[in-house]
């Protein structure tokens, strides 16, 4: 490798560290992303043009076409996608990265296996890449709703683990035998793909962001392993950065939901949910209409809005902003209470509300807003469920017991907008809805909020 290319890789590596660091702070995040992207561009251009071997022109053309094609598709998807679809998009892109690592491994295994160490890196690259590819596709399908069911067969974990051990055994056998056997190689590929599916399929939708973060981390590790194979530092360090950052993010998300990583992987909320609330009578619910809710808010001093995924699904983020502006115009003090896992992913709700120009100074995080619910005249809950469920405080039998929640029940009045009385993502009943201070405003979030807005305008 030429000295120039090494220097270029070094610069790229530095931009990755700096970029990632800046991505962790709200003020500098945008700059961080651009810095890392510039470094990536540098590494790509350097790899193509600076090397010491003779390369036929046709190969340059092919590389150029591939890059152009992939860039255009990637760009179009990224620019066109709706902000509500962000989590599944991240998952999809991550799957592509994993697939890329696997394909590299497939080519390399047929070409260069000189030592057991080389075989080990290639084989692990193939397996990890394949698992992240199929796993990410399943996560993508689950998040966009095309894969609905949570599959639970008895002894699922045992089946899974046995399969995994068999896969590792095959890998070890291939490394030890050293030679290139296409049948075994493609068997390994198929095994990795199937394991990715088995791994993600039983995990519930609420836990999917954690899984995506974990898979993201694995793609980084696959990239790092490929880096070891080529003795390429930018791939090694870049991959490991993603790997360790992904693990930290995964743990942070688990903490926000009061879940352990093991409970995410080996169990789902729904497994125990049916028992928790179904046979208990929680009282009666009180239904309200847009006009009454509007009057209540019109004469309030402090209103807190709790946005949830129902708002995102209905694409109601713009209407909620309109509602907030009208109320503010009438002298009402309006704030948003943001639970760390509101939406489908930590921070997802902030992105959605930012899209509709809500000032992020109004978005108050859980720990800061919780003491303020006592002073709130009205809390408007839009499409949130589990994050406001008092069972997390009061019911040790509940699967979400111990999860930090928004203390909505301390407010004077609570208006909950929901499409129906169906349980939330965690699949458990919410006694907040049966509280005497709570009125239910049934309907699609967008329609309900539009009604509220027009009622308020007429006052």
């Amino acid at each position: 490798m030429s000295v120039l290319l090494s220097v270029i890789y070094l610069i790229s590596t530095i931009t990755f560290v700096v970029g990632l660091n800046k991505l962790g702070h709200p003020e500098t995040a945008k700059k961080g992303n651009l810095i890392a992207a510039a470094g990536m561009g540098l590494a790509i251009v350097g790899t193509i043009f600076i090397h010491e071997i003779e390369v036929p022109t046709i190969i340059y053309i092919l590389i150029g076409v591939a890059i152009l094609l992939g860039s255009i598709i990637g760009w179009l998807i990224a620019v066109k996608v709706e902000m509500t679809k962000m989590p599944e998009l991240v998952s999809l892109f991550n799957g592509f990265g994993g697939a890329s690592a696997t394909l590299i491994g497939l080519v390399e295994f047929s070409k260069n296996v000189d030592s057991a160490m080389q075989a080990t890196t290639i084989v692990s690259g193939i397996i990890i890449g394949a698992i992240t590819f199929s796993g990410s596709l399943i996560a993508w399908g689950k998040l966009n709703g095309s894969l609905k069911s949570v599959i639970k067969i008895p002894q699922y974990n045992i089946v899974n683990n046995v399969f995994f051990i068999a896969l590792i055994a095959l890998a070890v056998f291939m490394i030890l035998s050293g030679g290139y056997n296409p049948l075994l190689l493609y068997g390994l590929l198929a095994g990795g793909l199937v394991y990715g599916i088995l791994f993600v399929l039983p995990i519930g939708g609420a836990d999917m962001p954690v899984v995506i973060s974990l898979l993201n981390s694995l793609t980084g590790i696959a990239a790092a392993i490929t880096g070891v194979l080529y003795d390429n530092m930018v791939m090694l360090v870049g991959g490991i950065l993603v790997g360790s950052a992904g693990i930290i993010l995964t743990i942070a998300m688990c903490k926000a939901m009061n879940r352990t990583l093991a409970s995410v992987i080996f169990g789902s909320f729904t497994a125990t949910a049916g028992v928790a609330g179904s046979n208990k009578s929680l009282g009666t619910i009180k239904s309200t209409n847009a006009s009454d809710a509007a009057i209540m808010m019109n004469y309030a001093t402090n209103v807190i809005i709790v946005p949830g995924y129902g708002l995102a699904v209905a694409q109601a983020q713009h209407v909620i902003h309109e509602l907030e502006e009208i109320l503010t115009g009438k002298g009402v003090n309006v704030k948003y209470a943001i639970h760390p896992v509101a939406g489908r992913m930590p921070g997802h709700m902030n992105v959605l509300l930012a899209e509709s120009n809500v000032d992020y100074g109004l978005l108050i995080e859980m720990d800061d807003i919780n003491p303020q619910f006592n002073n709130a005249d009205v809390v408007l809950v839009v499409g949130a469920n589990d994050v406001v469920n008092p069972a997390a405080h009061n019911d040790p039998a509940s699967p979400i017991y111990g999860m930090p929640i928004l203390d909505v029940e301390n407010a004077k009045h609570i208006v909950v907008n929901k499409r129906s009385m169906n349980a939330g993502y965690a699949g458990i009943e919410n006694e907040l809805f049966y509280n005497s201070k709570t009125s239910m405003l049934f309907g699609d979030a967008k329609a309900a909020l539009t009604d509220l807005v027009s009622e308020l305008k007429n006052m």
């Binding site: 190969i59 962000m86 880096g227 930290i248």
Partner: protein
């Protein structure tokens, strides 16, 4: 075991870099606010597209007549750059929205 020790001896530099990178990765984003979890995950995802460097190397080292290797390499480059360009672009779009208006 002896093989492992030999490997570490032969690759002591890589081992150092590996371990240091793990710590750097952890330190760099240890205390991220929840607001940034989604963009950060997306940005890290774009970074994992660095695997494209390997995909380009595969193509550079392939024989022009080795159609299988070239096809797989081509696909690897397309998927890798999709991850890179799509990942950074989508992260940028998200961060673009965090504007303070006051």
């Amino acid at each position: 075991m002896i093989q492992l020790i030999d490997f570490i001896k032969d690759n002591i530099q890589i081992t150092y870099i590996l371990i240091l990178s793990i710590f750097v990765g952890i330190e760099v984003i240890k205390s991220i606010p929840a607001v940034l979890h989604t963009p950060l995950m997306s940005g890290a995802n774009a970074l994992s597209g660095v695997v494209i460097v390997g995909a380009i190397l595969v193509m550079l080292h392939s024989d022009p007549n080795d159609y299988l290797a070239l096809t797989l390499g081509f696909l690897a480059v397309v998927l890798g750059i999709l991850n890179v360009v799509g990942g950074f672009a989508v992260t940028h779009r998200m961060l673009q929205m965090f504007k303070k208006r006051k």
